[in-house]
Amino acid sequence: MLEKDKVAVVFGCWTSVSRKSVLPVFEKDNGLLFYPVQYEGEESSKNVIYTGAAPNQQAIPAVDYLMKEGVKRWVLEGTDYVYPRTTNKVLEAYLKSKGVAAADIQINYTPFGHSDWQTRVAAIKKFGTAGKKTAVVSTINGDANVPFYKELGNQKVSAQDIPVVAFSVGEEELAGVDTKPLVGHLAAWNYFQSVSSPVNKTFIDQWHAYTKNPKRTTNDPMEATYIGFNLWVKAVEKAKTTDVTKVIAALPGLETPNLTGGMAKLLPNHHITKPVLIGEVKADGQFNVVSKSPGLVAGDAWSDFLPGSKDIEADWVTLNCGNYNKTTKKCSGQNYK
């Protein structure tokens, strides 16, 4: 597309792997990609605008909420690939910085599509009855989620006793699921369909009209794409051209409204500001928002809680670098390595 059709901008990619795969091409051919999905962070490219959540806009606020609810023991349960591994690394470092002992953190990975959760749920149950309030932070991917929640329900692990907070279970995922065993479990996103605001209502109505199906759900990555597209339109208007270099230069600092209130502002590190919402699953597959960040949270490309990335900063405006080390004052160039 970039070489043949010379497209001005691409909105897309779903998994982290697909993003990492196209990244070199976008950088070589100077393309522009808007990536709308929450991801593990530790990346910032000149040619990519990240409109999904970085870990500090999703994972860390969720953990904060649970800490406030009195959770002292943590199970970090994930599928075995790059996003859960990196997110859990960030979370583990964060929990330890908050004084959680290593014995109170259990990290486990299962293969893609894992469907036999009996042993894991029994282990979580055992871990959770040690006398301290326990929660599960789930970075379990897609298809493995349903059997996991079913098993939790069957083994009578209720959300009241051991809540599970998930980062990749949204409205669209719940649409194909028997929600009974999930009710009360948590999800952290930057957007929920159930948030009532005039912009959101218009957006949902338009979506239903477009799909000709009033039951279709909207979700977080859709909002992120919506924001990304509006940002690009504004940048093109400002730069008066669709030329990639000029649009990229025009982008930082632009603002567009979020669907749930507040403005999404594109930061110099190519991430945006977002509100953080935590919702509990309701029986109809929608979410009941139980916590909302007081203001907007700025996306942080390089986590402050990992020793390797603490000193690293991304700034495409003044530094023109996605991987700038504040202590050595060096730009490491290609950041996806």
Partner: protein
């Protein structure tokens, strides 16, 4: 003139005193109740928890009804007059309102004009414990048992007397025992050593993790070297009790692991039986076997769509329906494709792989690529609780039973019926069978249909365990081939023993090695095993083997 203002003053005082009395009088219990109810509207979750406590203490007759409503998401306040109501249902076009004080119906309102008083997990937990006090009076012993379990988790000055009171009245032995456990736990907090020893004695027969942790606290050493429990006798008794409980828990957890293995094994057996027939008996490598299971799962979904009010029954209807759908698909496949490819395994493999892609895409076109929601009937959810340390999940238990039934049936069909005889005859010696007047082509189609039908039945079971989506089959096809190869091609008992042992080994390894490593270890072990015994556990006999 002087007396008048004095008199008026006196009168005012009297009036004030009277009204004071009347305020005080109204403050119990209705006013406290209404005041706390009113505050619920704007409170944060933490404040709501405190309000729940205040409501409970008000002792008002409708506390239990209001708290239940809050728990079930049907406590509202009306937007125009801010009055709090209990809704008869949490949602609907028009919600019937119930007055929280009198518990009488007071009209209805559209949901737009009401605001729901929300809860979160922490609050619902508080509510559950608060409601447990009321549930103690329930006539249903199982409700009382749940209530006592909840109360045991929230023992304090308020709950212990309630439990004591109940213990005197309780008739059900199970509930009584649970109350005794709770009271013994409470006694551990006291100062009396003799009472503590008696309590430890009571608790030592328990196998619950909570009891174990509480007892373990007794002999725990503080940082300065002093014990939490001053009396050494109590400490020794606690140590012995914990040791005993740990022994039992280890025993029960071994049983649990064994059951986990068996249930994983039974899923493997179920998906492998069909393959053991098509691959084993007929020698056809059917790559579309997984997709036939997927068809079975989608049949379950369709059956549930057709009978939305009878989810419990729908599964039972889905079993024969799935058998027929997948069986017909199998016969069609055999007649149109596979029969032209007998004796050419590579071509069969490729052709059936193609069929599997066609089936997947068909399902995608009809049902969309998204997963479909198959409901679990109530009688299959939850678990059978043996004791505090061991509970067996119902859906897995049913699937183990179901596998045994299917296996016995298939065995009976092959051994006792005419078609079974024909199938065995053709698989042993095709030419001879043909010479004896058996319509081998027809038998081939029937055999393939039988194998495919069982795949469909397996799909019904899988729909209760995992996602129903176009990729359902792919995730199981490799496992099922592994079981068949391990068990020995063409032998149902091989599939049975193979599936069960693979499941158990997998589950025994998982706690130590993790799910990823356990799978790798099983795979490597299987490869080594096949190296040593290329024909699996139960080597096949008959015409097929003589060729090899």
């Amino acid at each position: 003139m002087r007396t008048f203002p004095w008199g008026a003053q006196w009168l005012t005082m009297l009036l004030l005193a009277l009204s004071g009395v009347s305020i005080l009088h109204a403050q119990t219990p209705d006013e406290t109740f209404v005041a706390a109810l009113g505050e619920l509207r704007e409170a944060t979750y933490d404040d709501k928890a405190a309000l729940v406590e205040r409501l409970t203490q008000s002792g008002h007759a409708s506390v239990s009804a209001v708290l239940t409503a809050l728990m079930e998401d049907r406590l509202f306040f009306r937007n125009d007059d801010q009055k709090v109501f209990v809704g008869a249902t949490p949602e609907g076009d028009s919600i019937k309102l119930i007055d929280p004080l009198s518990l009488k119906e007071s009209g209805s309102a559209p949901p737009d004009s009401l605001t729901k008083i929300g809860t979160n997990n922490g609050l619902r937990r508080t509510l559950r414990f608060a409601l447990a006090r009321f549930k103690l009076a329930s006539p249903d012993p199982s409700v009382r048992l749940e209530a006592v379990r909840d109360l045991n988790q929230s023992l304090d000055e308020a709950t212990v007397p309630i439990l004591k009171e109940r213990a005197a009245k309780e008739t059900d032995a199970g509930v009584k025992k649970e109350i005794e456990t709770g009271l013994a736990l409470a006694a551990l907090d006291g100062m009396d050593s003799a009472a503590k020893l008696a309590a430890i004695n009571t608790l030592s027969s328990s196998v619950s993790q909570e009891v174990r942790n509480r007892l373990a606290l007794l002999y725990e050493k503080a940082e300065d070297g002093s014990y939490a429990e001053p009396d050494e006798k109590v400490r020794t008794a606690a140590t012995t009790a914990v040791y005993g409980i740990d022994q039992w828990r280890t025993f029960y957890s071994a049983i649990e692991t064994l059951f986990f293995g068996l249930s994983l094994g039974s899923v493997l057996i179920l998906i492998a039986i069909g393959l053991a027939i098509t691959f084993g008996v007929m020698g056809v490598i059917n790559m579309a076997h997984g997709e036939l299971m997927m068809l079975g799962a989608y049949t379950t979904y369709t059956v549930q769509l057709m009978m939305p009010n009878n989810i419990g029954l729908s599964i039972l209807v889905a079993i024969p329906a799935a058998f027929i759908v997948s069986g017909l698909a199998g016969v069609l496949m055999e007649r149109t494709i596979i029969r032209f490819l007998y004796g050419r395994p590579l071509e069969t493999l490729l052709a059936t792989f193609g069929v599997s892609l066609i089936l997947q895409q068909t399902v995608r076109s009809i049902f969309s690529a998204n997963n479909r929601s198959v409901l679990t009937p109530d009688w299959m959810s939850g678990s059978v609780r043996i004791n505090d340390a061991l509970a067996i999940t119902s859906n897995r238990l049913y699937i183990v039973l179901f596998t045994l039934i299917v296996f016995t049936l298939i065995l009976a069909v092959l051994k006792r019926t005419r078609i079974g005889l024909d199938i065995r005859a053709v698989s042993q010696n095709r030419a001879m069978a043909k010479a004896m007047g058996i319509r081998t082509e027809w038998v081939d189609a029937m055999t393939f249909g039988l194998g495919s039908g069982i795949a469909g039945v397996a799909g019904v079971a899988l729909s209760q365990l995992t996602n129903v989506g176009p990729n359902l089959g792919q995730s199981y096809i490799i496992d099922s081939f592994m079981v068949v190869v391990f068990g020995g091609v063409g032998n149902l008992w091989g599939a049975f023993i193979g599936g069960a042992s693979m499941g158990i080994v997998n589950k025994l390894l998982e706690p130590y090695a993790g799910a990823v490593l356990a799978k790798i270890v099983v795979l490597v072990a299987l490869i080594l095993f096949i190296q040593a015994r290329p024909r699996g556990l139960f080597p096949p006999t008959g015409r097929g083997t003589e060729d090899k």
